[in-house]
């Protein structure tokens, strides 16, 4: 075995002839040493967030870890920030796993009728507390046989109320928001139950017809009968390569409350992988939204939207399939936004230890180059397992920062490698003109972090974070704020989809793609947040999915602005 250096290259064999003696088999040990210190040092700078435990938010993510190490146990669960009742306050929807009683015999019910295993919707009250409205909203029934995974939010029927799509190992559920504080399970009518092991999902409008379509990633062809343990005598979760790859699902919104599975005709089903995260952006500026799928230890997928209802997978040609060393990555979470304010959406993928969170910089002309080291991620990752992430301007300085929920996929990884930790604190890295540096997230408590959603929970103009933890309540990171200015934009599409998903919004030179998708299993505040630094006014440009180009000048900062799409170009 050749010793792989942390920068991703092999060691000089010649040097080792006369240098430090590395016994055979030592290479693996050395690699694992790359774990100390990085993820566990706490910067001394002032904390950007503080953790809060809001009254009423009593959710615990029940993943039911067993000695059988069923792979589904370590993968949930999602969180969504949405304003389901349009009262101006973000509410929180949390996806639960389910009850696993080993040994699983095949078809399981996961006890989802039991309150402990429900998904939960928490309505935010004016005082910052939350009320569990799951039952009254009609969301208590998660479906027996569904082990919950993730959540997507979007107004698929353009009625002004956000709808909820929950993914599962089992069947997925589409809840239509009735606009009166209740939801209806419309899965059967809509035809979006999926099946198998669905993970992340997201609403987007791939054909620019003004109706949100739905993309669902799927992880593995797995079932309890084929489950196995991979710890060489110590029970442990298996790597994805132990199970067959599967294809993802694309549903086209017909506009009548039903969807058509177009995975095959669109070309999406032609590629099988181990899909986890998904994010959307028009990376080549052709006016059609493209799809990036974070795949676990196979090539990453970049589905280029051909504009005619079909997609071509172009990750290799675009330079985002593998690392710059031509190596596979364990893609888990993903964000598809512009980190360096050049107006083009870039891609950041979270991964396992011994890999670096990969930054693919959009060079234009439909190609990317990896800039992991140049952006500082050589110092920020390599020791950690990243899941949900966001690229948000937490300090409102005009540069989007990174927050990553972390925790090793193997819950007993210490037994295999004492230098690894199953629980890890989150990573916060502030963006200094395109280079990221570790910052104080306000908590160095090691947790089994998974989902992460981003939004301004308390409407103070500073982006907050909600993360999920296996076997524990969510963590709510409230932003400590500061003196910089900000602008929050809600798009209201007329010709485009009502949420404006897919729009490219540029404010004083900063660009954001309108989307609630990205991260891992989770759905973000659909409002587009811009840190404005010292600027008190803003120039806004919106390129709507309809093709309409809208400009607004001298817009006052520090406000929540609704931008309505002009009816006519």
């Amino acid at each position: 075995m050749r010793f792989q250096g942390a920068a991703g290259h092999s060691m000089n064999r010649g040097f080792f002839r006369s240098g430090v003696h590395i016994p055979a088999g030592f290479a693996v040990l050395l690699l694992t040493l790359a774990i100390f210190s990085v993820g566990f040092s706490t910067p001394t700078s002032p904390a950007v967030f503080h953790l809060v435990q809001p009254k009423g938010l009593d959710f615990v993510l029940q993943n039911s870890p067993t000695s059988q190490k069923y792979l589904i146990e370590t993968m949930p669960g999602g969180v969504a920030l949405l304003d389901y009742n349009n009262d101006g306050l973000l509410d929180v929807f949390l996806v639960n796993g389910g009850h696993i009683i080993p040994p699983m015999a095949g078809v399981e019910n996961f006890d989802r009728h039991d309150r402990r295993y429900w998904n939960r919707l928490y309505r935010q009250n004016r005082d910052g507390s939350f009320t569990d409205v799951t039952e009254q909203a009609g969301l208590a029934k998660a479906g027996e046989g569904n082990y919950g995974m993730g959540v997507a939010v979007g107004d698929y029927d353009n009625d002004g109320y956000p709808d909820i799509y929950v993914t599962s190992y089992g069947k997925n559920i589409l809840y239509h928001n009735n606009g009166d504080g209740t939801f209806s399970d419309v899965t059967e009518k809509a035809g979006v139950a999926g099946g198998g092991w669905s993970v992340s999902a997201g609403f987007f409008d791939y054909d620019n017809d003004g109706k949100l379509d739905l993309f669902v990633t799927r992880y593995l062809d797995w079932d309890p009968k084929r489950s196995k343990s991979c710890g060489n005598g110590i029970p442990a979760y298996c790597p994805p390569g132990e199970f067959p790859a599967v294809s993802n699902i694309l549903y086209h919104n017909r506009g009548d409350g039903t969807f058509e599975d177009v995975s095959v005709p669109s070309g999406i089903a032609a590629k099988k992988g181990h899909g986890l995260g998904v994010a959307f952006a028009d990376y080549d500026g052709d006016g059609f939204t493209d799809i990036f799928v974070a795949n676990d230890v196979v090539e990453q997928f970049l589905f280029h939207n051909n504009g005619n209802g079909t997609f071509t997978e172009r990750a290799l040609d675009a330079g985002v399939a593998l690392t710059t060393d031509g190596k596979m990555i364990s893609g888990m979470g993903v964000v598809f936004q512009d980190y360096d304010n050049d107006g083009r959406p870039d891609i950041i993928v979270t991964e396992l230890p011994r890999q670096l969170y990969t930054v693919f910089h959009n060079e234009g002309r439909g190609i990317f180059t990896e800039r992991t080291l140049e952006t500082g991620f050589g110092l920020l990752s390599g020791a950690n397992s990243g899941w949900g992430l966001g690229l948000e301007d937490f300090d409102n300085d005009g540069w989007k920062d990174v927050f990553v929920a972390q925790g090793h996929v193997i819950d007993n990884v210490e037994k295999f490698d004492s230098s690894l930790r199953s629980l890890e604190p989150p990573l916060l890295a502030m963006n200094h003109h395109g280079r990221f540096e570790r910052a104080n997230a306000g908590s160095d408590l090691p947790v089994a972090g998974r989902g992460a959603a981003f939004g301004d929970l308390n409407n103070d103009g500073w982006v907050d974070v909600v993360t999920t933890r296996l076997g524990a309540p969510p963590q709510i990171f409230l932003n400590n704020g500061g003196k910089q200015h900000w602008l929050s934009i809600t798009l209201r599409g007329t010709r485009s989809n009502r949420d404006g998903f897919g729009a490219k919004v540029t404010v004083n030179g900063q660009m954001r793609v309108a989307t609630a998708a990205g991260s891992y299993l989770s759905s973000n505040d659909k409002r587009l947040h811009f840190g404005m630094g010292s600027a008190q006014t803003a120039s806004i440009e919106v390129l709507w999915p309809s093709g309409i180009h809208q400009k607004l000048n001298d817009v006052r900062c520090d406000q929540f602005l609704i931008v309505k799409e002009p009816e006519h170009p």
Binding site: A6, A7, G19, L33, S37, E370, L373, L379
Partner: protein
């Protein structure tokens, strides 16, 4: 081991020397040889025994009998006739060789050594010496044997084992006789490092450095502890000291370049990597990472040259595949689609080959 041919040659020589055989002994001997040729070992043994009984002073009969026993894995039975041969002809090389093997096979390494020494059978001798604790002699003899038979996995295995034993013995001596020396701390640090105990390794390196801050290599090794635990700024600091102590050490320059690249300082990394390549040209990994640093620093010409050179040196290795992949990205950036596609084709070709040989990353 390939001793059978040697023994057969010796046996052939033996058959043509010594006292004349009686007709009865000769008849049984020929029958035994014929049976042996047709792999009828039991018959051969029986015939050789009859030959020896027919003529008790016939060394060839005993020698063939011993050899047949050896072929039949009856090492204990082989010893008596082989000893008898040496009573009759004390200097007969084939008898010494066979007896040495027979005794070694039975675990009587000390008894085997004089016989193996007599015929200079360095491989088996090294193994025997290893088993009797003559480790440095064992290493020396096994090295000589490996030189003669470089493709013998058994010999390589025993050489590794003997070398490790020698290192262990030397370490014990170092630790016992010089418990507070810088080298003891250095060696302890290396051991801790191998056991994942980076904190202890760091501590021992610091102790060694406190005693002898200017011993070459210590800062480099400590830097590697930091590097492998992702403490890149600490690693960089140690590598910098090492490069000052040893400005001619290519590895130190390479390591410093690697740390700087990891920290995202591509241009500075490039300088050190260039220096490393000047000091020790054409190290493939130096060239590869040089290419990465150059690419990151937007010096595409330098990156292209470095990666092309890697491919020229490495041809079809995984590193060559990585260089092809790097070039593909470079050509994409230069808007040279055809060249990029060609490099990707080479990348996949090598990836496929390396994955088949178990040397790939997939």
């Amino acid at each position: 081991m390939n001793c059978a041919i040697m023994v057969l040659c010796m046996l052939a020589q033996m058959s043509s020397t010594g006292p004349a055989l009686s007709p009865a002994a000769a008849q049984h001997l020929e029958a035994g040889i014929a049976a042996e040729k047709s792999h009828q070992l039991e018959t051969a043994i029986s015939e050789f025994r009859k030959a020896a009984e027919a003529q008790p002073d016939a060394a060839p009969a005993y020698l063939h009998l011993g050899e047949a026993y050896m072929s039949n894995h009856q090492y204990g039975d082989a010893v008596i006739p082989l000893r008898r041969v040496l009573e009759l002809d004390p200097d007969l090389p084939s008898a010494h060789l066979l007896l040495g093997y027979a005794q070694l096979a039975q675990g009587y390494a000390a008894d085997a050594i004089p016989h193996l020494e007599k015929v200079h059978e360095t491989g088996a001798l090294g193994i025997a010496q290893m088993q009797t604790g003559q480790v440095s002699e064992a290493v020396s003899n096994l090295q000589a044997a490996v030189k003669q038979r470089p493709n013998d996995p058994d010999l390589l295995y025993y050489l590794i084992q003997a070398s490790e034993m020698l290192a262990e013995q030397s370490t014990d001596t170092l630790f016992t006789n010089y418990p507070d020396s810088n080298r003891t701390h250095q060696r302890r640090a290396q051991n801790y490092f191998a056991l994942h105990q980076a904190a202890q390794a760091e501590q021992e390196y610091q102790r060694a450095l406190a005693i002898s801050p200017e011993v070459p290599g210590l800062h480099l090794e400590l830097g590697q502890v930091y590097a492998e635990t992702a403490q890149w700024s600490n690693a960089e600091a140690q590598y910098r000291i090492e490069t000052q102590l040893q400005p001619g050490n290519a590895q130190a320059a390479y390591r410093l370049g690697e740390a700087l690249l990891q920290e995202g300082h591509a241009k500075e990394a490039l300088q050190e990597l260039r220096r490393s390549n000047d000091l020790q040209p054409d190290m493939p990994e130096t060239l590869y990472i040089f290419g990465k640093a150059a690419f990151a620093a937007d010096d595409l010409d330098a990156a292209q040259k470095a990666w092309t050179r890697v491919i020229a040196i490495e041809k079809e290795s995984p590193l060559a595949a990585q260089a092809h992949f790097g070039l593909a990205g470079l050509y994409r950036k230069q808007n040279k689609a055809a060249e990029a596609a060609s490099e990707m084709q080479e990348f996949w070709k090598l990836e496929g080959r390396n994955s088949h040989t178990g040397d790939g990353r997939r």
